[in-house]
């Protein structure tokens, strides 16, 4: 009987290989929006356009879905970032610019920009995941990328920072906050929120702060 195949063609059974990723995407977007506990499996299935039971064909539990979602976003590593640092022709400031630009572009395109919000919200309910997130993303980006750039900049006399280790955290934190805000309270701020403009403001802040030094002020105006 060709019954099932006929109707399943229209919408039901597209690229079978893409399923897992679609499911994880749907789950991630809902987890991000409502949090893990407040997200219903049925809603995930609905958003993915499949039946509730189908989810369990690919993932054993709701928690596994979360793990898979985080895993998927954690997978693409930052080998390219490392490459940037390796380039000896660039100034440290240029390196910083490019690295942050790349991170920004990549995170904005992928769901990665949502991950911090999710992890911050769920870290105490899923400590293992939290640790993974910190160890595989936060710490490496800070310690193996940003810090090295900073140290090089200091060594070259480009930068003047009294506590590089924590300066790095400031730079990263401000960056991450941008993502968090965009995925949360920005929606409730009547004043509007322009991510690109904020990024620019942020880059300026990193470079020259409020431009306290008179001499610096001139350049900052540029």
């Amino acid at each position: 009987m060709p019954e099932s195949s006929t109707k399943a063609d229209g919408k039901g059974r597209r690229r079978k290989e893409a399923r897992p990723a679609e499911l994880v995407d749907a789950a991630f977007s809902l987890f991000l929006e409502k949090g893990f506990a407040a997200t219903r499996i049925e809603d995930v299935a609905a958003r993915a356009g499949v039946g509730k039971g189908t989810l369990y064909l690919y993932y054993q539990s709701k928690e596994q879905l979360l793990q898979a979602a985080v895993e998927q976003l954690l997978l693409p590593r930052f080998g390219d970032l490392q490459a940037l640092i390796a380039d000896p022709d660039l100034s440290a400031a240029e390196q910083l610019d490019r690295v942050l630009g790349l991170l920004w572009k990549h995170a904005s395109a992928s769901g990665l920009s949502g991950l911090p919000k999710l992890m911050i919200g769920e870290c105490h309910n899923f400590p293992a995941l939290a640790r993974q997130f910190v160890e595989r993303w936060i710490a490496p980006v800070q310690d193996q990328v940003l810090r090295k750039i900073l140290q090089r900049g200091i060594a070259r006399g480009e930068f003047s920072v009294s506590d590089p280790e924590y300066a790095v955290r400031c730079i990263a934190g401000g960056f991450v906050f941008l993502f968090i805000w965009g995925h949360s309270l920005a929606d409730f701020d009547q004043r509007g929120f322009d991510p690109e403009r904020q990024r620019t403001a942020w880059m300026e802040m990193i470079r020259s702060g409020l431009g306290l030094a008179p001499t610096t002020a001139e350049e900052a105006l540029a």
Copy 2:
């Protein structure tokens, strides 16, 4: 030992006046830790040291408990901050220092430092609360305190910022991120986290960024 309670400490009944605040505190700390949905009323009661039903003597529902918790933290306003700005003898930089210092101290002491994490996680589940939070805290602090200081600083030639409106958001954001981090992923960061040190680094970043040397300025323009 001069314990606080009069004598009914053993199993302590009848402290009607203190109850609501105790309950809200217990609820807030759990909401902050696990999120609203993942927090069980029974756990709130246990942490407050009362029976499950007692909570419902004071709050009609779990959601009302959340509202009360947020409300309580939103109540104390920042009249004192306003006073600081009004002082014409201080430089803008000093004003900023003091205002941020005060915010820091106040938020660290009260539960207010946890509110951003909570609101960021729950904003989509409780839009009304989110709006309240933004309108009664975020926006006023940015627009009526920080921005005014910045503008005065610019007018006085102290500061040099190209986009004051968003610079304010950067300053506030970095600050808020400190709180968020301390209430979430800091616990999972093997490298440790010293809030005070980060605050210092952050203040420096605000003031002078990476301290780009005059010569560096050229590259920064690139």
Copy 3:
């Protein structure tokens, strides 16, 4: 310290002996209205104008309150009815009239008119009470009062009934239904409900039914 006595005088501590009856009255009226299960002890206390705990000073449980309420209404027996039957000078029709009139008056004045509704609703939850009610009221009134009148009427040639045993149930049933209706659906009948008028109609129905025989019609008009 004369503190407690002073304020307790105004409203708090009237006739102490009347308490139990007041409590039972409040309970009965609420049980009647909402049913036993749907009635909250706190509402009973409120209606009686006392604190929740006070109820337990007089009755050990909610169920005991119900038992006491029913008991109280079941107590006054119908010795006087029996006396009426004994009067040999009255016709059976007159006896019936008086007996039903007396029942009507008594039941309307006391809460007794509500008891059937309550018992009908609760009989399966409180079988013992139900049995008591049937055995101490329903059956006696039917078998020892009404049936005897009917039998006397038949013997005297006044009445003509083919099944006296069940005719008695019809008479009693119609009567009881009047009470039930008045305590329940009458409140939701837009057409209004005049108990006295219905009683009159009912008495006529008992005496002469629809007046099928032309000759009977005249008496029916009387």
Copy 4:
């Protein structure tokens, strides 16, 4: 033995079409027996032979289950009754006989006979339902069926009633009481209860009451 279900009788899943009615039946029988408040959802599920959660697949709440149950019984209207009245060849007395006979049969077969008991008990907790019940059953049967028969009987000289409007209520009331009694206190009456016999007695009572006039007795036998 030719059981009804096809084969999945053992633990029987998947009978989606029959489910809602089964659930409503189970619920109705329990509501009727114990009242709404005293009935536990779990018991309803058990009586219907399903799990607790299954109920919520079909009805959103316990209250909706009640509404559905009442609705279901209120649905079948009395078009056939109307037809009987329209027949001009029947005497009014014959019409009355048939109408009441039909009501009796129908109500006894369906759960309708239980509805009055339920509605009387719950009317104050569910006023909207009560009004519906009165407006869609009680009032129509009385005003559009019984009253018309009575008026026709009076016009034709068959009946002789001084207050037709309330006579109708007596007739209907006695009838309804039969149902109520059968669903409640009859179970606790040691004397037994024969509904059919009581119906007969009731029909006689309607026709000729107690046959007060000596001459009336003969006709009462008719």
